[in-house]
Point group: C2
Chain length 377, copies 2
């Protein structure tokens, strides 16, 4: 942070937001709050929270100093009729002046409604957050937290696969205990397993048949027999707040030859991607290797059909973070954590996707995913 501040000749870098949505703020403070607070990084670091949160901030955060908005008389300002946003900005101005700020950096996502009034009293530069680059390269404790979430993710995947595997194809649908097996039931089994492991998952995908053709569709209703079912689980550990991410595609019943071919193509493309990963190679290069496999096997991307997304993304305190394995992917570095998740999508058939989570190493990668790839259950 010191180097960053002096490179840009800044007196400080200011974040304002909540640390549930803004992972940079959680990363830098370890103070988890759904309510807005401010964090000023200088040689020392300072939190500015509401008076109600001061005790918790002192105890839980890693900041050097915790101050309260009441120390800047926010109630007086509100009582004399300032609107809440105006009063908060006045508090921030006093807070920043009290910390010797003249030239200030703020991140891209800094609220425009605060940025604009601060311009009256400070020189404000909007810069890429210094935390986002740090966050890309994981420390050992972060790698451990991600691996731990990945173990929970795989136990949940096992429950899903067992449930689908124990169902019976009857006509066009899968049945279990005399009832159609639904996306919702499989998702519930996943959710219970994750909860037992102290994880939460917002938007687990269990999408069968044509539903799976939209890569982010969650899936709903009865699951089709003889059709691929995409299961994409990305849980967050409630204690560490780190994510894991994996996808498998399974089918119960008879797989049509073209579905088997598509699955095999995705498997080969993923293998090529995994093989290409090592420090010094760009995400762009990895993505192009994966795309080339699909092209070679006769699956070009065309008008929203085929391989319609990028190869992968970083995973950490956010489920989608840098670096990306895409047309614009940067050079990979040791201890980047990325997904490798090629897929093929056709509206009439649905989709097939396979996703592993790996740690980039000097001479290759360490695959955190230990779950088999098996289409037909």
């Amino acid at each position: 942070m010191q180097i960053f501040l002096s490179r840009h000749n800044l007196d400080g870098f200011l974040f304002v937001g909540d640390s549930i949505c803004d992972s940079d703020m959680y990363y830098l403070t370890h103070f988890l709050s759904g309510d807005r607070f401010a964090f000023l990084a200088q040689e020392k670091t300072t939190l500015l929270v509401s008076s109600m949160e001061t005790g918790r901030a002192l105890k839980e955060s890693t900041a050097d100093e915790c101050l309260s908005t009441s120390q800047y008389r926010i109630m007086e300002k509100l009582k004399r009729g300032d609107k809440p946003e105006e009063a908060y900005c006045l508090v921030l101005v006093e807070f920043l002046q009290g910390h010797g700020i003249r030239r200030l950096g703020v991140p891209f996502r800094f609220p425009a409604g605060i940025y604009q009034p601060l311009l009256q009293d400070f020189e404000v530069l909007v810069l890429e957050s210094p935390a986002s680059r740090c966050r890309e390269i994981k420390r050992q404790e972060e790698l451990d937290a991600i691996a731990c979430a990945q173990r929970a993710c795989e136990r949940a995947m096992r429950q899903a696969v067992l449930l689908i595997g124990s169902s019976k194809p009857r006509g066009e649908l899968l049945y279990r205990d005399g009832q159609p097996l639904t996306s919702e039931k499989v998702r519930a089994a996943i959710d219970v397993s994750l909860l037992e492991d102290g994880c939460e998952a917002m938007d687990t995908i269990v999408a069968g048949g044509p539903q799976a053709a939209a890569p982010h569709a969650r899936g709903t209703g009865p699951l089709a027999a003889n059709a691929p079912i995409v299961i994409d689980i990305f849980p967050r550990s409630k204690s560490s707040r780190y994510f894991a991410d994996m996808t498998r595609t399974v089918l119960k019943g008879e797989a049509a030859p073209e579905v088997k071919d598509i699955y095999e193509a995705v498997r080969l493309a993923q293998a090529a991607g995994l093989l290409a990963i090592r420090a010094g190679v760009s995400g762009k290069e990895v993505h192009s290797r994966v795309s080339q496999v699909f092209l070679d096997l006769g699956y070009p991307e065309r008008e929203g059909r085929g391989f319609t997304h990028s190869t992968g993304h970083g995973v950490g305190l956010d489920v989608h973070e840098k670096p990306s394995l895409s047309e614009t992917g940067e050079v990979l570095q040791v201890n980047h954590v990325v997904t490798v998740e090629p897929g093929l999508y056709y509206p009439e058939m649905g989709g097939v996707r396979l996703e592993d989570l790996v740690v980039v190493k000097e001479k290759g990668s360490e695959n955190l995913t230990h779950f088999e790839r098996q289409l037909v259950l």
Copy 2:
């Protein structure tokens, strides 16, 4: 929205963000996405999403039109070397120009890193989001969704109360099945119940003894006997995305007279608050009635001791939203949904808080909370 646009003489109002963190965007689009997208409100409404999301956006969102960043050649821009943020801003400029925008409104939380470059091509006004005022007054379907989440909340509270009620005080701790009963175990019972009801809860509070003196401390470790335990549950329905919110304080064992007095004071303060609520009364007035009860009963707020927070807040797609019942609380209107949650906090003792969720009505309020208030179990 039309009235808002013409009042400020705007050609459109632009949101950029993800609709998991920005509830205004979910409210206005019904498109749930953890990845960033743009939403332009004019006479017609338009979503701008990545090409991968176009199909889902067309299907799930309520926008009149869904466009993709690939229609604005984002890949070309990236391939020629523009940084991702620059390329995205160029896409936005083309998108806005194509929609006849010259004078544009953006909300307070709009990212400064996009606001700043847009100033080169447009007149940009940072305004309070037009959605935030609409969101305060709930439609019937929103009231139903909140009530439904509240039912789930109370079933979870019942599990927690049963668990604590069935524990045995032994020395200074509570025991169950020969093991100390912990905050974590009670929270797990709450989480399982919520999951069964299709809800998720990020930060359920189960805090006993001195831990409860910080109103937002989650609580950890063995629960103390003979001491108040604050249980604050604020689940979100996964399907509707609406929150509920409630708090009860319970104690297993012997309650000291001063704890009983504090509980009774909180109960009376809450009753006064509930009684004061009706359309036309300000949140400030309600808060002052509650504070007055504490003052009258000999519990002044002083140096972080006593009633250290406001009386309540709105609940909807966010767990904390407008209006507030506080020193700066606005006038309440029919179908506002607010919490009434006085509490008293003393570091050496802990805390007592009682929280109900009510709908503001013409001549009073409808209490959505049907759970008894009982300190000693």
